[in-house]
Each structure stands twice: as structure tokens, then as C-alpha cells.
Symmetry: none
Subunit: 220 residues, 4 copies
DNA sequence: TATGAATGAGGATTCATTCAT
DNA sequence: AATGAATGAATCCTCATTCAT
């Protein structure tokens, strides 16, 4: 996802203007601006000064909302992660076959990946986080992996998915999805919805169990 | 690709040893060590001191072989890129259907992605490169995209591949492949060859043109 | 004087409580808390936020009572200094020999040194004060020196003290006394009174003129 | 010890001059300059830039010799501490009565206190050190206390010192000595030797056991 | 070719202080 | 009288890079 061309986030600190929005709103604005800049320039090249400038405030003001630059980074990741986990929870709670659930999560995940916070999940470097945060991050990644594998496993069990190597299948699907975070451009000719719709079919089509009648066609 | 557990690169500057290897060999050793460290810690957290230490030399010595840290980064990327382009050239020269060529490139690309220099292609941040190098890099990425799309297009033309959205198909395949650079661990239970073999089938299976019985729609 | 174990100063801003005490009382509370913190952590490590927190108020509220952090520092010192000067005045006004006066001031000074404001006199760094305040401080220190020397001189004159090097004698006594400010712990096994009583004898014993019988040996 | 008037330390980095002295010599020069500045301005007000400037080098150059500002502070303290402990070791090894040993250590300690590194022991703030260093420092202080008390105890045991409160006696003596670190001025009219000689007598005179003629009560 | 030493540039962070509310 | 928010100034520290040897 190349965000360079994006129109700048509106700042709640618009100069010479009402500066009275709620604290949480400002916090969020910081995050939106920061994630943008981190994606554009990379975490290390992006400076807090840069973030502050885009917000029409000064660098130390950021410290009213975050304890450190890393804190901001981690929050960006967290937001993306939370969005994904919410969808996983929803999907878990869904009725239906494993294949159906997989299709569902693929579509929603694709949509998330086309957002800045979603891209955080794959564009930021885990080794830029402190040990405790890194642990949380890795645990989150594992949970996502596990969820995808779970749907596939369920699908195989319930007969909706052709038996296959679960691990590699999950890797292939997640790879295709995560890659969105690298190539998606908000100003491109594909909308997140289009991508979501397409991928939810494309990435699961090969997995569906084919009718056991006479002949079976090539699976994936 | 987590490279932390990898056995350290042997150093041509091993202390108390003959130090008279060819210049190019040393240059390569620097690159091998650097790419390793960059992957482990990220480009910015990795320091030239760290690279030098692993090589039993001192930081300024590196400047005998490279003009700057970025130069090293770019070279790492270049090696990966070259490997891919070599395979693309071979594939281009191959006889056979588009599907066959796609299968071929997928397999070899997967193998490359499971190497440190291959992972460079997707783990390093383009915005850490200077303008000229960035241009080269982006051009390289485009060539890879184009190659993949080309094989798909050829496959559709020659009837080996079911008609589909070329761009999204290529993105999905490349995503699955590039993701290898993030999850592959040299000490894991999958060898690069196994991955290559599996993916060359897995990622292309859904594309093959199905027998013309009546009508089929399933792409991907 | 380690003050870490001291029970926290009661705050006139106790939350959910009457907040209507007199201004001076609050001012004093700030000083008591500040001096405590300054002694615990050192003037520079202690922050106004820290002071405010212990008082259940916010940092800017402190500025209702003091113009600056240095102002607070200077006031702490001033209180200690005033206490000493009061005792000096009393002692000056006392009837009796130089030795007697010296004993008196040593005892009271020891008691003061075992208090937080007394310790301020020797634990804070003069160079943390602005020029005008520094001058006042140094003048104060000189007045104390002069007072001690005066008593010794008077004692020598009135025959209560054996002739000796006045300056070094004063330094030795003041050193022993000031050191109290560094080692005294409110929760230790020595009360300020015990220290005062002991030191008033200990530090002056060697000075007393010995009976002129035949020969006298050098005292201290 | 006010060092403001002191002639500046000669710098091994004299500009436009031979810059080829041994590493250790430079390290020492940094320490000499730093301790000077720390004493003049206080640890926090003194900046590494200030230290570097006096040495005709730049700030980062200091990091060739020390890991951090605190590291420098701790080294300064260590040098002073080592000097004292060396003298304590010598004194321990000395033959003679407890009183004699006490006199000896008082004299040498006084001399050390009149040096910059000696003054470090009492002018720097323990709470400016990191936890590990602070522990070392406090342990050092305790060893000094213990040594002084040991000599007094020995003196009482061997009859050279009149029985007395060992702890308070030691505090009084150490206080007088440590205070030197605050008032001594290299350009004053007292040399370290004079102070040492005077204090070695002055601070121990009152302790000597008086001839058992009839009965004596005099404490210290 | 290699190194020890030094530097310049830059960034995160802290904190006293101010100001509008 | 009190506060939340913001700021400006300052400092430590890191590191790629250079240079004399």
C-alpha cells in the first residue's frame, strides 16, 4: 500500500481554529497521522517532528498522548490487530461450513489490509518493538495463523474443503492477503471492496470439495 | 523468514588465519553477513559495527568494499533481484505453455524467497534507498510483476490457463510467494525445495483450463 | 539524612476534603513536600510533577505559590537558614562564656541538621541557584561560619576555651554537624535530641581550658 | 572545595598539536576535566558539551572512552573511593595502636578530601547513579565507616582510646573530614598537607586515653 | 588494506513554564 | 484557585562517515 499520494489527514489542531475536541479524538488523530507517515517513510525515517508538523502541533505535545515513539508504533499495530481479531470472533461465531467461514474471513481480512492500520500488520518491523510488545505482537500473529488454519481444518472435517496441507494452504492464503498491504493504493482503480470480493472467491476456489460423483477436477 | 537461528556466516577475516582471499570474496562475505543482520534486526537497528564485528573486522574496513550503508542494502536487494531475473530469463526462453512457464517461475521464485537475498526483496523498505536506487528497485519490482502477468496472459492466449483477472491473479500468486520471505525458517521442517514443489502446484492449480465439457467458470 | 522512609506529609489538598485552608498553610505544605522530595531524589531528578502528585494537585497549581522551581529550592534553604540564624541570635543574646555559647549553638544546630530544612543547608547545590539567590546563600553560610568563629574567639578571650586555630576549629565542628544532614535517618535509633546532647559535649570537650595546674597538653 | 578559580586542566587534545597520546592518558584527562566541571557546576548543570569543549574535542568523542555521562560520574567517584580504600588497606597493615591508625587515616583522608576526586565522594549525589552503581557506592561508603569504627574499637580494646560511643565518634570525625571537600580551595591559604597534619591531631586529640592518675571522665 | 579516533547530524525525550479555560 | 494542554529549550546519545596513520 503506497500512501504517499493520500490527501493529508485533517488535523484536530487546525491552526487558528477551535482546539477543543475530545482527548480521544486527538489521540486517534495522532495515530492516523503517524501510521500514515510510518507507511510512507518507514518507521525509522519518520520523525515525531514530522508527525507533529502534519498535525500543526509540536513534538512534545505528542507526549501528552503517548509515552514514546514505539508506543505509537505499537498502538498502530494494535488497532490493525484488533480489527482482524474482531472479524475472527465474528467468523468463529458464524454458522456454516469451514469453507464458508474461510471465505468470510478472507474477504474481511482483505478489506482490512487495504487500510493503513491493516497494512501496519505487515509493513512494520517486529524487531522495532520492545520485548514485551514484541511478544504481544507475535502472539497476535500466531492467533491469526491459528484462526485460518482452524477454518481450513474445520472445512476438511465437515467435508466442505478438499483435504490438503493445512499449514501451507494457510500460508498461501495469508500471503496473498498480506501482500495487499504492500500493493494497495487508495487512489488506484481497485476499491477495497472489489479486492475483498475477488479474493474471497479467488483464494478459496481451489479448496472446495468437488462433487464425488464421477470425475473430480483439479483442486489446489 | 526468521534467520536468527542460522549458523553464522564464516568470515574470510577469521583471526589468526590467512587473510589473503580475493577482494570479491570478501565483498560477498560482507553482503552475506549484512543481509543476515538486516533481516534479523531490520536495516536501521542493524549497525555497521554489528556487521563488522561478525566479520572480525572493523567498521571502516567495510568502506573498502562499499561506499555507504545504503550501498550495501542496495546490493543485497540487487542480488536477490538478479537471481529472480535470471530465472525469469530462463523461463522466458523455455518452450511450453504459459501455464508451464508460470509453474516454473513459481517454483524457482519460491526457492529464492527462502534465501536471505531473496527475502531482501520483500523485507527491506524501498524508502530507505536513495532516489536513484529506489527507481532501480521499483523498476525491478515492476519487471517481476510484468513477467508473472506475461506468463498468465500467454497461458490464457495459448489456452493453458482459464481466462481470469490477470492483475489480481498475479498479485495473489506473488503475495503467497513473497510471504515465504517472512515465514520461512531455515531450521524449520520445510525445505526450500519442498516449498517450491508444493507452491508451484498449489498456486497454479486453480488456473489450469478445465476440460471443455459444457462450460466452466472457476478461476484462481 | 535519608528521608525515604518518612511518613508522607499530609496534604492540605486531600481529595474529597475541605480545601479551604489558608494560603500560607498550603505554601508551607508545598515546601515540606518539596524539600522531602529534593532530599530523596536530588533537586534535578525531582520534578514538580512529583511534588504536585504527592500533594494531590497538579503542577501548574504550584505556580500559585512559587514563581519557579528554583524559588522553591531557595525557600527551602531559607527556612533552614532562618532556623539557624534564630538560634544564633538567641545564643548571641545569651549570657555566659564563649564555650557555653558554643555548646549551646552546637546542640541546637545539630537538632536543626536532623530536620529536612536543616539538611537543605548542606544537601543542596549552591550552583543550582540564580546569581542573586546564590549571593544570599553564600552570605548566609558566611554568617554561620562567623558566628561559630565568634564564639570560639570569645571563649579564648574569656579564658573558657584553650587557644587554638579558630578557623580550622570552626570547620571541624561545623563539618561534624553538617554531616548529620547526610547520615541522620528519622527512623534510626538516634533521636535528634540525643544527637544534639551528645554532639554539644563531644565537639566542644576538647576545647575547654584545662585547669592551669602545672602543664597542659594540646587539646583539639 | 570550590574549584571555580582553578587553572584549567591541560588538554591532551591541545588544538594544532600532537594528538598521539596513549588512550589511558586521554581517558584520565576526560575524568580530570569532568570531575572539575561537575564540582564547579553540579553534575546536572554540567553538560558533556562543556566537558568536551574544555578538552578541545567534540561531545561524541567522549563516548570513545565512556559509555554514558553517568559512567563518567561513577568513575570519578570510584577513583576517590579507591584512593581512600588504598589508604585504609595501608593503615590496616600498619603496626601500632588503634589511636595511631586512626590518626594515620584521618591525615591521609583529609589530604584526599582536598582533591577533586576525593571531593567527589561527598559532593556528588548517590541518587544520580543507576541502581547497580548506587549499590557499589553505598557499599563503599559503608566500608569507610566500618574502617573508622574499626580503628576506634581497636583503640578502645588496646587501651589507646578512651571508651566512647563508637558510632557517633566516627560520624563526628568523618563529618569534619568530609566537610573539607566542601570548603577547601586549592588557591586558599591552607595546603592539603597543613590540613591533614592539623586534623590528624585535632580530630583524635580528645580520644586519647588520659593517664590513669586518679580518675578521668573526659569523653571525646 | 585496515584501524583508531573523531565528527556532524539528527532524533527522542524530559521538564519547567505558560496560557486559555 | 486550579487545570489540561501545549511549548521551547536543552541534553544525552547513536551512528554513518571520514581521515590520518
Amino acid at each position: 500500500m503506497d500512501t504517499r499520494a493520500i490527501s493529508p489527514e485533517p488535523s484536530p489542531w487546525l491552526p487558528f481554529e477551535s482546539r477543543r475536541r475530545a482527548r480521544d479524538e486527538k489521540r486517534e488523530a495522532v495515530l492516523r497521522t503517524a501510521v500514515q507517515l510510518f507507511l510512507e517513510q518507514g518507521y525509522h525515517r519518520a520523525t515525531l517532528n514530522g508527525v507533529a508538523e502534519r498535525l500543526n502541533i509540536t513534538k512534545p505535545a505528542l507526549y501528552n498522548y503517548f509515552r514514546s515513539k514505539e508506543d505509537i508504533l505499537f498502538e498502530c499495530w494494535s488497532i490493525g490487530q484488533e480489527r482482524v481479531e474482531d472479524r475472527i470472533s465474528e467468523t468463529d461465531a458464524m454458522p456454516g461450513s469451514g469453507l464458508l467461514k474461510l471465505r468470510n474471513i478472507v474477504g474481511t481480512y482483505a478489506g482490512i489490509m487495504a487500510s493503513a492500520f491493516g497494512a501496519s500488520l505487515v509493513r512494520f518491523n517486529v524487531s522495532d518493538l520492545s520485548e514485551p510488545n514484541r511478544k504481544v505482537t507475535l502472539a497476535g500473529k500466531r492467533r491469526i495463523d491459528r484462526a485460518f488454519r482452524g477454518y481450513i481444518r474445520q472445512g476438511i472435517a465437515d467435508g466442505s474443503i478438499e483435504p490438503c496441507d493445512i499449514k501451507l494452504t494457510a500460508f498461501a492464503i495469508l500471503g496473498a492477503l498480506n501482500w495487499i498491504g504492500h500493493w494497495y493504493k487508495p487512489d488506484g482503480d481497485l476499491t477495497p471492496d472489489q479486492i475483498a470480493e475477488d479474493f474471497s472467491v479467488r483464494l478459496t476456489a481451489g479448496l472446495a470439495k468437488r462433487p464425488q460423483k464421477k470425475k473430480a477436477r483439479k483442486p489446489a
